[in-house]
């Protein structure tokens, strides 16, 4: 490497302000570097601790809840399933910046495919899941192509239309088959055990978040973030915009499909309400409240959205407020709506930004002599 010439040193890079910043950074660099490494270690340690806590959770619940431990664990399983759906929406919207509202369509379709293949056609459970996921990938590709040729609000509305259409088709299927919802009657015996299901979902969720963490730091993840920050610059750097948007759409569809089959397994039923505007709002709430463009935000959002119905579940259904009769399901979506508004107005970065800001403040306070 060549050294800079003298005039250059006096010039652009050597101006007083940058120079001051340069020397400051240089003097702080050892500390700064070890600081960021320390931060990485802290995060890794916190992640491992969290995972350990989740692994030991069933034992803790035994102590806490006794006989109802399995029932409580069943509720935690739902939050983990929602976390996968939140991650799917976040990859597409928070990272690749595609405001698609169509994920609920894949959520319902995969559940119905599982129910049909497994319960009616008597195909093995895992094969049915595999087919459902492949179908989601294919649907993502078929729907994503035309959907991504429009952008912004148009994409949001077009994909919301897809959700409504899918929901009506699934309802039509239910009605014509003469059923309220599609029961999963041939699930593997083992999955009837709440603990087995919990550990299966935990393992899958952990694996998916681990892979997503690495993906977002790879060429593909960087390309997604790049096209979020500046589409023209990404194209000028050689990022094939359409291909990467489509890839995000397909990955998101498959992950949502996985969440869908797990959700159906969890509830032993597939319902048309899985592909509904309410479900879309729940997905959206998870990433906005949790934090768009953040992995921990996906988890936090799922926790939040998973807890709301649990808390409301303690109320009588329908809730009587004077002359008003409020079905709890309506109330839930209403609360999501309020949360969305509050989050967008008061903490646009979501819970994860609030926490990391809090953490940073705490560290800075602690670092003071």
């Amino acid at each position: 490497m060549k050294r800079m010439d003298l005039p250059l040193k006096r010039g652009r890079l050597g101006q007083s302000a940058p120079r001051a910043a340069l020397s400051l950074t240089a003097s702080e660099r050892p500390g700064g570097a070890s600081g960021s490494t320390r931060l990485a270690w802290q995060r890794a340690a916190a992640t491992l601790l969290g995972l350990l806590a989740l692994v030991l959770l069933p034992l803790l619940f035994d102590l806490l809840f006794g006989d109802s431990a399995d029932f409580q664990l069943h509720r935690v399983t739902l939050i983990l399933i929602l976390a996968i759906a939140a991650l799917a929406q976040n990859l597409l919207t928070g990272y690749a910046a595609q405001p698609s509202l169509g994920n609920a369509a894949f959520f319902g379709v995969s559940a119905y495919l599982l129910a049909w293949l497994n319960s009616d056609l008597q195909q093995p459970y895992w094969l049915a899941i595999l087919v459902a996921l492949l179908a989601c990938a294919l649907l993502g590709l078929i729907v994503g192509g035309p959907a991504l040729s429009v952008s912004g609000a148009h994409l949001a509305i077009a994909t919301l239309g897809l959700v409504v259409l899918t929901g009506s088709l699934l309802t039509l299927w239910d009605t014509s088959a003469g059923r309220q919802s599609y029961e999963l009657t041939a699930l593997p015996e083992a999955l009837g055990d709440d603990r087995v299901l919990y550990y299966l979902v935990l393992a899958l969720t952990a694996l998916i978040f681990f892979c997503a963490f690495h993906l977002l730091r790879s060429r593909v993840g960087r390309a997604w973030i790049a096209l979020r920050d500046s589409e023209v610059a990404a194209a000028a750097c050689g990022v094939a915009l359409t291909r990467y948007k489509l890839l995000a759409f397909v990955v998101s569809a498959v992950l949502t499909g996985l969440a869908g089959v797990l959700y159906a397994t969890w509830g032993t039923t597939a319902t048309a309400s899985m592909s509904s505007v309410d479900q879309t709002i729940a997905f959206l709430t998870m990433i906005v409240v949790g934090g768009a463009g953040s992995l921990s935000g996906s988890l936090l959002g799922a926790l939040f959205v998973g807890l709301v119905p649990l808390l409301l579940g303690e109320l009588p259904d329908p809730l009587m407020l004077g002359p008003l009769q409020l079905p709890i399901a309506t109330l839930t979506t209403g609360i999501y709506g309020v949360l969305l508004l509050l989050a967008l107005i008061f903490f646009p970065g979501g819970l994860s930004a609030v926490f990391s800001r809090g953490g940073r403040l705490a560290r800075e306070e602690g670092g003071k002599p």
């Binding site: 490497m1 060549k2 800079m4 010439d5 005039p7 250059l8 006096r10 010039g11 652009r12 890079l13 050597g14 101006q15 302000a17 940058p18 910043a21 340069l22 950074t25 240089a26 660099r29 700064g32 570097a33 960021s36 681990f210 892979c211 690495h214 993906l215 790879s218 060429r219 593909v220 993840g221 960087r222 390309a223 973030i225 790049a226 979020r228 920050d229 500046s230 023209v232 610059a233 990404a234 194209a235 000028a236 750097c237 050689g238 990022v239 094939a240 915009l241 890839l247 990955v251 463009g293």
Partner: protein, 285 residues
């Protein structure tokens, strides 16, 4: 660095210019933004594109990098027809680009911006990216090393892990250039590199541009309002006015032509394009 920087130009193509624009015409609705423009940029040359605001300079750059589709004309780069290719394919052929307004990846660190700049050199797809080790990580490590070299060369190394949004504007401009250089282009399109740069820094910027040209063998096509920079670095200058070529040739001669001087009249601060002053407005060229 300069030795392995670029692929050796093929002997047969040496006769042709690196970039050849013929009869380029761009219409925006009823507005004729560029009219029947011919432009040749030789390998290793520094060509400046100047002209009053609205003359169509940025539109020409956008046609070359593929963001604007011309109504007529053709563009050849290293003997290849560019018009059939999308922007990302043109980047892969070796056309780098900076933007008037930066267009940086603001949420990423400086180093990550450069890694995107090297996107076309990397191969890892979705499945390799999922893994914590393997070919994706090793090619990434090599790209990181190259990015660090480029940052060191531009004296940006101390900022490698800074998030771009937090950097001062002057440094951000340099990061934009570093990102383009990370793609190791043969032709670098610079859109007003001196805009917003203080008078004292202009000489240093000119020195930088010459250095990239000399040490990297880089061909530069730059839009510039600052005539001091143009005179200091450009070997040739092309003056545009209302989308038409007004004059072309050596800067010292062309910039004194009466027609060129006249084109700049009507804008108070640019009565004489040679007048030394900071041009800070960013209005579209």
């Amino acid at each position: 660095m300069s030795a392995e920087w670029q692929t050796a130009p093929q002997e047969a193509r040496r006769r042709r210019p690196l970039l050849e624009v013929q009869g380029l015409t761009v219409r925006f609705g009823g507005l004729l933004a560029v009219a029947d423009l011919d432009l040749r940029v030789e390998e290793g040359e520094i060509l400046a594109l100047v002209g009053p605001n609205g003359a169509g300079k940025t539109t020409v750059l956008n046609c070359i990098s593929g963001f604007v589709r011309p109504a007529a004309g053709c563009i050849h780069f290293a003997g290849r027809d560019l018009l059939a290719l999308g922007p990302e394919r043109r980047a892969a052929l070796g056309i780098g680009r900076t933007f008037q307004n930066g267009q940086l990846f603001a949420s990423m660190t400086v180093l990550e911006n450069l890694l995107i700049g090297r996107h076309t050199y990397l191969r890892a797809g979705l499945l390799q990216g999922l893994l914590p080790c393997g070919p994706a990580k090793s090619e990434d490590a090599r790209a990181r090393q190259r990015a660090h070299e480029i940052l060191a060369w531009l004296e940006l190394e101390p900022y490698a892990d800074c998030v771009v949004a937090a950097l001062p504007a002057g440094l951000q401009k340099l990061v934009g250039v570093a990102r383009a250089l990370a793609g190791e282009p043969r032709l670098l399109l610079l859109d007003e590199p001196a805009a917003g740069v203080s008078l004292r820094e202009v000489a240093a910027l000119a020195e930088q541009l010459r250095r990239w040209n000399a040490e990297l063998g880089l061909t530069l096509l730059l839009i510039e309002h600052n005539m001091e920079v143009v005179q200091a670095v450009a070997q040739r200058v092309c003056v545009l006015n209302y989308g038409r070529k007004l004059a072309e040739g050596e800067p010292g001669r062309v910039l004194r032509e009466p027609a060129v001087l006249e084109a700049y009249l009507g804008r108070d601060e640019e009565v004489n394009p040679l007048q030394e002053q900071e041009v800070s407005d960013h209005a579209a060229g």
